[in-house]
């Protein structure tokens, strides 16, 4: 395993608070190892800022293994960077060249207000979830798990939708800042399972209503969301949501 070192010219979005005016700050990242993850590169930059007594770049991050959905930044115009099926924490510096300039911005959407630097407020997703993204089953009331057979294909499809990590890259990537991919993955996961049947219509109506209330844009089927999605949630989910919502609206009394 070789270890190439590189120097990079970062242009990082700095914003002191939600109301403050933001700007790009140019920062040199020196001696960056090609084996670092993108966030480790930022760790090193922050370490140097501390040594100079300057405020560090704030960014959300946690598991650093691509599953928690915390890390969220737009790198050279691409949410989570240039690679498909990759979160920022799993992006490695070997994807960049010595001397390259890298522009780092927060996810931008009115529904994801910036809190500080690259940190945004994605609580809109939680509010969408609570508007119907569940099955109403109280603890203790369940029958034996094998009483409800679920065909493997259906179960696999539901699983594929359920793997959404809720990072918001779909919103960041969409030219309309639409949350359609996220919401549709949630709706699909439960719509595909027999357990979700009872609340199927209310779920679609409630979650879509909340999605709209949060101020996300509408889907114009460009597919940028799915291309930016770290777990490659399929556009089929959006079609399913559209269907679910249409039929639910028709059935509504």
């Amino acid at each position: 395993m070789s270890d190439k070192k590189m120097n990079l010219n970062l242009k990082v979005w700095r914003q002191a608070g939600p109301q403050a005016k933001g700007h790009f700050q140019e920062i040199q990242a020196t001696d960056v190892s090609e084996h670092m993850s993108f966030l480790e590169m930022l760790d090193v930059v922050n370490d140097n800022l501390v040594r100079k007594g300057e405020e560090t770049i704030e960014f959300d991050h946690d598991c650093r293994e691509g599953i928690c959905g915390s890390c969220a930044m737009v790198i050279n115009g691409n949410p989570h960077g240039p690679d498909r099926a990759t979160t920022t924490c799993q992006l490695h510096m070997r994807r960049f060249k010595d001397g390259e300039s890298i522009t780092i911005e927060p996810f931008r959407a009115k529904s994801f207000p910036i809190l500080k630097d690259l940190v945004t407020d994605r609580s809109a997703f939680d509010r969408i979830q609570k508007a119907g993204g569940y099955i109403s089953a109280n603890t203790g009331s369940a029958q034996d798990a094998n009483n409800i057979p679920v065909p493997k294909k259906k179960a696999d499809l539901a699983f594929a939708s359920a793997t959404c990590i809720g990072c918001g890259a779909c919103v960041a990537a969409c030219k309309n800042a639409s949350a359609a991919l996220f919401v549709s993955a949630k709706i699909s996961h439960l719509a595909l399972l027999p357990q979700g049947e009872a609340e199927r219509s209310e779920r679609a109506l409630g979650m879509v209503a909340q999605m709209d209330a949060e101020g996300f844009g509408a889907c114009t089927n460009t597919g940028a969301c799915s291309a930016s999605c770290p777990v490659e949630i399929s556009l089929e989910n959006i079609a399913r949501m559209n269907r679910e919502f249409m039929f639910a609206s028709l059935k509504k009394k």
């Binding site: 242009k11 790009f24 050279n76 115009g77 691409n78 949410p79 240039p82 498909r84 522009t103 911005e105 931008r108 959407a109 009115k110 207000p113 809190l115 407020d121 609580s123 509010r127 609570k130 508007a131 119907g132 990537a173 030219k175 309309n176 800042a177 639409s178 209310e202 109506l205 409630g206 879509v208 209503a209 909340q210 999605m211 709209d212 209330a213 101020g215 996300f216 844009g217 509408a218 889907c219 114009t220 089927n221 460009t222 597919g223 940028a224 291309a227 930016s228 399929s234 556009l235 089929e236 959006i238 079609a239 399913r240 949501m241 559209n242 679910e244 919502f245 249409m246 609206s249 028709l250």
Partner: protein
């Protein structure tokens, strides 16, 4: 930041006031209009046959008692498609208040066609208005076939299609319509919930082929008139 629950049962909105409902209206009207442009194009192909066939076809259309209903429907579809789409575009722009410094690249980029649907729509609107002024409300030449007097639209079309500026504008507008259809038809299907993991590729192809047929069909007419008929 809102952290507290706002206590209450799940709120819902009506289909018409939801983004998805509106998108579906744009989709349905879009598909309707796509159907119209296809039949319009096919009918107009009679220009290659000759003046009589062309004029009699036009005459049959305008004298059909259902024409007013059809026209009203078409206008309604057109206006609904346009207004709802523009309204959605407006809220879509507002969903992001601060633009990115750089555009996405590689797999994550979008095409110019996808980004400029609204502009294409506006251009098609301008074209449609001019188109109606030029033809529907243009000079009223007449022709007589077997004792029936009717408008000689054929003559008007030949006249117009011999003006290079008009032909150029017509070609540009029709190519834009083609791009609009190539995204729009497939996109409308998706919006209406029609998606199949196995055939999805073909939906895209159908959309592009549809757009090509309409565009090439329409373009063949001025090109025929301008270059071949002379």
């Amino acid at each position: 930041m809102q952290n507290h629950s706002d206590n209450g049962s799940v709120k819902t909105t009506g289909w018409m006031s939801s983004t998805i409902g509106r998108k579906q209206l744009v989709g349905v009207t879009g598909l309707g209009l796509s159907g119209f442009v296809l039949t319009h194009m096919l009918g107009n192909m009679l220009i290659l046959v000759g003046p009589q066939a062309y004029n009699q076809y036009a005459h049959a259309l305008v004298t059909n008692p259902f024409i007013y209903i059809a026209e009203a429907g078409l206008i309604a579809m057109f206006l609904a498609h346009m207004f709802i789409a523009l309204r959605l575009s407006w809220s879509n722009w507002n969903a992001r208040d601060f633009k990115y410094a750089m555009r996405p690249s590689g797999a994550k980029r979008t095409t110019f066609t996808q980004r400029s649907l609204w502009a294409q729509g506006l251009l098609i609107l301008a074209f449609t208005i001019l188109h109606l002024i030029t033809f529907k409300y243009g000079p009223n030449y007449t022709a007589n076939y077997g004792g029936i007097e009717m408008r000689d639209l054929h003559k008007l079309v030949i006249e117009v299609f011999q003006e290079p500026v008009y032909v150029a504008w017509y070609i540009v507008a029709l190519i834009v319509l083609g791009f609009h259809l190539s995204h729009g038809v497939g996109s409308s299907l998706q919006t209406l919930g029609i998606h199949h993991i196995r055939y999805q590729r073909h939906f895209k192809t159908v959309s592009i082929v549809y757009a090509l047929i309409v565009t090439v069909g329409f373009l063949s007419q001025p090109i025929y008139v301008y270059f071949l008929r002379g």
